[in-house]
């Protein structure tokens, strides 16, 4: 139920009675059905999550970058706090 892979939309297949697109995963290509994304159809260049040949969701590049940033900053806030506490500032000393 869980194997879903990020894929880039290369081409949207026009017409036809079902919405589909050609996606690329590092050079491997497959036609996927985009019928579950009719509310906000993906365009070439968009990234989607593919599961059993269907696009399930658009991938937000912004959220992904945000997340990496959060992960990278892990521990840094704590390190900064520890550094500051070394000055004794929060103990009310000068």
């Amino acid at each position: 139920m869980c194997l879903a892979i990020p894929a880039k939309i290369v081409d949207v297949v026009p017409g036809d009675d079902q919405a589909s697109a050609l996606v690329d995963v590092v050079g491997v290509r497959r036609r996927v059905n985009t019928g579950l994304l009719l509310d906000d159809p993906p365009k070439p260049g968009d990234w989607v999550l593919v599961h059993v040949g269907f696009a399930m969701s658009k991938i937000s590049e912004e959220q992904a970058l945000d997340q990496i940033q959060t992960l990278n900053m892990m521990g840094e806030q704590q390190a900064a706090l520890e550094e500051v506490s070394g000055y004794g500032v929060d103990e009310g000393e000068t």
């Binding site: 869980c2 059993v52 991938i59 997340q67 892990m74």
Partner: protein
């Protein structure tokens, strides 16, 4: 690979692991259940237990749609394909799951026309290309997969493809989680929520877990950094005495879910009053069946099935492992009578079953103390 490699970056993972070590209260023993079999597989595949502190225990949940399928249903599906005119199609995951007379692959070796498909759409294509054969698609999966099956059924009906049917074994995740929480031996502190199911159902359906059961749940992606970040979020909640639903997998999971997917599901499927989950007994409103409006494409109505309940051998403790009460290696049959080569229960043959994951990725690591 974009959106994959960044979340497998060793530096990022090390930072997340360090944060976990910092947040985990050494006086406490945490039990987190990852509901989804895909998470179980990822945890073992990426060796995540090696980077977690010893006081965080990951308990494997029942979110493996192959594992919870009773053996009788596999027999039913195979019975439908006894007619040489019928083509049995299913995902690769089903191929080695044993029925009482053998697995689909074993039936194939004996002459049954059994074909692996990557997509239900491919099963329909086989039907369209072979008008003189009947193609039956053995549908499995939670809400991640059901909408795709639904769209394929809608297309079959719209195009009038009559030589196609679906044997629907889709199950729903919430009743499974409820069964865990209702279980008397349950001692879970928090949940790692299923990321891909949530792309369909969104995050709202988990609110009762936080509100009523007072357990934190973080909907998580499947890369190592995702799972570790979800654990960080769970620890923060527990340290603050909070219990809420959070979304770690924001790049893909919409809080409100996928409206079009839910609509397709309700157009084609309805809830069964109850369904048997292997090792867990009958759970109400926990599975889907094809609606009357699609009866012609419902394999259960087009074919006669034995419909027999097949009980697992008494010694097999699949149910307890599924509920996280037992660890795989604590089952008496683990590694001896029950191995991936000769599975007694589906937990051993499905690649995301906790027994198979543990057997394939872990158990010989500890053969000799380091």
């Amino acid at each position: 690979m974009r959106f994959v490699d960044e979340f497998r970056d060793p530096e990022v993972i090390t930072k997340a692991a360090d944060e976990i070590r910092r947040l985990a209260d050494s006086a406490r023993h945490y039990r987190f259940m990852e509901v989804c079999g895909g998470h179980t597989h990822a945890i073992y595949r990426f060796g995540l237990k090696d980077v977690l502190p010893a006081n965080i225990e990951l308990v494997h949940g029942p979110g493996c749609p192959v594992c919870v399928l009773p053996m009788g249903r596999i027999d039913d599906g195979l019975a439908m394909a006894k007619d040489p005119n019928v083509v049995f199609t299913a995902f690769g995951d089903m191929m080695r799951v044993p029925g009482t007379q053998g697995s689909p692959l074993e039936h194939k070796a004996r002459g049954m026309d059994v074909r692996i498909v990557y997509s239900p759409a491919d099963a329909l294509t086989i039907a369209e290309k072979n008008p003189d054969r009947h193609v039956m698609f053995f549908a499995i999966g939670f809400e991640t997969t059901a909408p795709s099956t639904a769209l394929v059924l809608m297309r079959a009906k719209a195009k009038g493809v009559r030589n196609f049917s679906v044997f629907c074994n889709h199950v729903t995740i919430i009743p499974g989680i409820r069964a865990i929480l209702d279980s008397p031996d349950m001692r879970i502190d928090a949940f790692i929520g299923p990321g891909h199911v949530s792309t369909v159902i969104g995050c709202r359906p988990y609110e009762w877990i936080a509100r009523t059961e007072k357990k934190p749940i973080v909907v998580s992606g499947f890369e190592p950094a995702d799972i570790l970040q979800a654990i960080v979020m769970l620890l923060r909640q527990l340290n603050n005495g909070e219990a809420k639903v959070e979304n770690q997998y924001t790049r893909v999971v919409p809080w409100e879910g996928n409206r079009a997917a839910l609509k397709a599901m309700s157009e084609v499927f309805e809830l069964r009053p109850f369904f048997e989950w292997r090792g867990m007994g009958f759970i109400s409103q926990s599975a889907l069946r094809v609606r009357d409006s699609y009866a012609e494409w419902d394999a259960e109505r087009r074919f006669a099935m034995p419909g027999l309940r097949v009980t697992d051998p008494k010694a097999a403790q699949c149910g307890e492992v599924l509920k996280g009460v037992l660890k795989p290696w604590q089952c008496k049959l683990f590694g001896t009578q029950c191995t991936p080569e000769r599975p007694v229960g589906a937990l051993m043959v499905s690649s995301e079953g906790s027994c198979a994951a543990y057997y394939n990725y872990e158990h010989r690591k500890h053969a000799v103390p380091a």
